[in-house]
């Protein structure tokens, strides 16, 4: 395996990890505030659809992005109303959102475009273009560093950089601001927050909306960054992988980055090396493709140690009377 191959695999890792990272951070905000969210998949799907649809019609990827985020926020709003305002079961509400998104996207897509739930292929301004960072030319002559910079660091769409930037921002927001302290507290002991005179409902809604925003970015990246248009069920389980990564990361932002990069790396490896020949023994492609899932089970069962979810997670807050 030469240096360029490693770079190409890492490059692919970064692309594949980006939607996972967005979704993982989205889940982190929601669950840290005590609202479990297994509807990440559905929100991503809704965002992917509407961003693909609007970008295809307007040929403007930024309008598409806005529409995608709006779709995801709407789904978040439903989740919030069901599980915060009406104190419904958060898991059931999340499952409902997944089904709602899977059905609505195809139904509306078929009605608008008559392409069987697909949106038209995006051209030109309808997609996020890759950005070449300054300095690629200057560094091109330097061995190792030049190709590293050109292949791995430069040449991604803007959303990849936004996702990476979201990690320190999330960390700062959660651990260095008053809002973050209250958000974490509301996921551990909402009664204490309420006693201090801070609205539990407002805080939880804020968290669920941040979750919607990030899921919207994830979905828009899938439809307008990674591919060129929406295809039914295109999230293909990425929302659930993000949830696994979230538990793996024990609900912390930097660890979330590491976990999603690991899952991205595994997927990139299985795409690149389908039959690995280890001197006589050939590892079949099925093993490589199952690896992310097998590893998820192993990691979750053994290696993370004790992953303790936010204590008030999953419980609707009822004021004592």
């Amino acid at each position: 395996m030469d240096f360029m191959t490693i770079l190409q695999i890492l490059d692919s890792t970064l692309r594949l990890a980006t939607p996972l990272l967005f979704a993982c951070l989205a889940g982190m905000f929601s669950e840290r505030a005590g609202v479990f969210d297994i509807g990440l998949e559905g929100k991503m799907l809704a965002a992917a659809f509407l961003s693909g649809a609007v970008a295809a019609v307007t040929l403007n990827v930024w309008l598409g992005l806005l529409a995608g985020v709006a779709a995801s926020l709407m789904m978040s709003g439903i989740h919030g109303i069901a599980s915060i305002t009406f104190r419904g079961n958060q898991l059931i509400s999340g499952v409902a959102i997944n089904f709602l998104a899977a059905g609505l996207t195809v139904l509306i897509g078929q009605h608008w475009f008559a392409l069987g739930g697909r949106t038209p292929a995006l051209l030109g301004g309808g997609r996020f273009e890759t950005i070449t960072l300054p300095g690629v030319e200057a560094l091109s002559g330097v061995p190792y560093l030049g190709p590293l910079y050109a292949e791995l660091i430069s040449g991604h769409t803007i959303l990849v950089y936004v996702a990476l930037l979201c990690v320190p921002v999330s960390w700062w927001l959660l651990y260095r601001t008053r809002f973050g302290l209250r958000l974490r507290a509301v996921g551990e002991n909402p009664a204490a927050v309420d006693t201090a005179g801070v609205s539990v409902v407002t805080l939880r809604f804020a968290a669920v909306m941040i979750c919607g925003l990030l899921c919207g970015l994830a979905g828009a990246y899938l439809a307008t960054g990674l591919s060129a248009g929406f295809v039914k069920d295109m999230t293909a389980g990425r929302g659930f992988i993000a949830l696994a990564a979230l538990i793996f990361a024990k609900w912390r932002p930097w660890q979330a980055l590491g976990a999603t990069l690991l899952f991205g790396l595994l997927e990139a490896l299985s795409n690149r090396y389908q039959n690995i020949d280890l001197g006589g023994v050939v590892i079949p492609v099925q093993v490589m493709q199952a690896l992310p899932y097998v590893l998820t089970v192993i990691i979750l069962a053994g290696f993370v140690g004790k992953a303790i979810p936010p204590r008030a997670g999953g419980e609707p807050y009822v004021k004592e009377r």
């Binding site: 191959t5 594949l16 069987g116 697909r118 295809v231 039914k232 295109m234 293909a236 795409n271 199952a290």
Partner: protein, 329 residues
């Protein structure tokens, strides 16, 4: 008998006779859906063509999960539809179970063989069509490496890959053919993101022609190839128009003709195995205005020569499905 009764009776009789006369044909799509721009869409187009030509109507069902296979086939048979066209090799077991239950209904199975007195099995020689596009790919190739992205890892798709590799090696014996699959579950037919990543990995390994036989996933492959500045090959339907000037050709599998034929033959269609090969026009490669600049006259002449030789039997293309081996891998 009051007037009302008379009307109701007449209406009922009319409805009954209408039901008797209209033994509508029916079409059951496989997973992947009616608009996959590929296999199922070709069937839809064939049925639409029949409807337009004859003014007739037909019933259709889109499967959502594998669990619905038997249920849908039974429901169609119960509804009185005849003949019933069932798409996809995965319905082999379905018809083995359902066809004997309805001996008066004729079934048409596309892509697999079921031995039953009331089943017509239509199979295509995909390896022959893939051989021809493999030749074209090798002739357009400059880097010495071409590649293939399959959908689900199953013998049918491997037969595409095997024919493709054989054709390529007939032109350039030392050409390298990278073969990758998207997955092992039906989700592999609908993951353009993964398809695109696999294509990008292949391009970075030097491939300059990528053949996708992967349903909806193939759209991501064709997109990645167009973005990466290399050529791609579409499958089943003519996909040349998707990225005009960047799709070398498409491996045609004329499913629409098979469906059209079945609908035209009506409830009394002949059963047995129908082989849609090169000679019968069941498979081929697409030439149109979108790829006219990519396929030179010389390339076309060579492909036509091989086509004639396959029809005449002087070139025999190995079918992976017969013995699960491929001489070109």
């Amino acid at each position: 008998m009051t007037l009302m009764h008379k009307f109701l009776g007449a209406a009922a009789a009319l409805a009954l006779s209408a039901g008797m006369a209209a033994a509508e044909p029916a079409l059951i799509f496989d997973l992947g859906g009616k608009f996959d721009k590929s296999f199922n869409e070709a069937a839809h187009n064939g049925a639409q063509r029949w409807a337009k030509e004859t003014g007739g109507t037909y019933k259709e069902l889109e499967m959502q999960s594998a669990a619905q296979r038997v249920q849908f086939a039974r429901r169609m048979a119960e509804s009185g539809a005849n003949p019933i066209v069932v798409m996809g090799f995965q319905n082999m077991e379905t018809l083995k179970e359902v066809a004997p239950e309805y001996p008066n209904t004729r079934f048409v199975l596309i892509d697999a063989v079921v031995e039953a007195p009331n089943v017509r099995s239509v199979i295509f020689t995909e390896h022959e069509g893939s051989y021809l596009v493999g030749m074209l790919a090798a002739m357009a190739n400059k880097t010495g490496t071409i590649s293939f992205v399959g959908g689900m890892d199953i013998p049918l798709i491997t037969a595409f890959a095997c024919g493709y590799a054989q054709g390529a090696k007939a032109v350039k014996p030392d050409i390298k053919v990278i073969v990758n699959y998207t997955g092992d579950t039906p989700a592999a037919w609908n993951d353009p993101v993964k398809g695109g990543e696999i294509a990008k990995a292949q391009i970075s390994q030097g491939s300059d022609v990528v053949f996708a036989a992967a349903g909806g996933t193939g759209l991501g492959v064709l997109q990645a190839a167009a973005d990466g500045g290399v050529l791609s090959i579409g499958v089943d339907s003519n996909q040349n128009y998707l990225h005009s000037g960047k799709v070398l050709t498409s491996m045609l599998k004329l499913v629409d003709n098979a469906v059209h034929q079945a609908f035209s033959d009506g409830p009394e269609l002949e059963t047995g195995v129908v082989l849609m090969n090169l000679a019968a026009g069941g498979v081929g490669y697409a030439l149109d205005e979108h790829n006219a600049a990519l396929v030179s006259d010389e390339m076309k002449a060579k492909a036509e020569e091989a086509k004639a030789a396959i029809i005449a039997g002087t070139i025999s293309v190995h079918d992976y499905r017969t013995d699960s081996t491929c001489p070109a891998f």
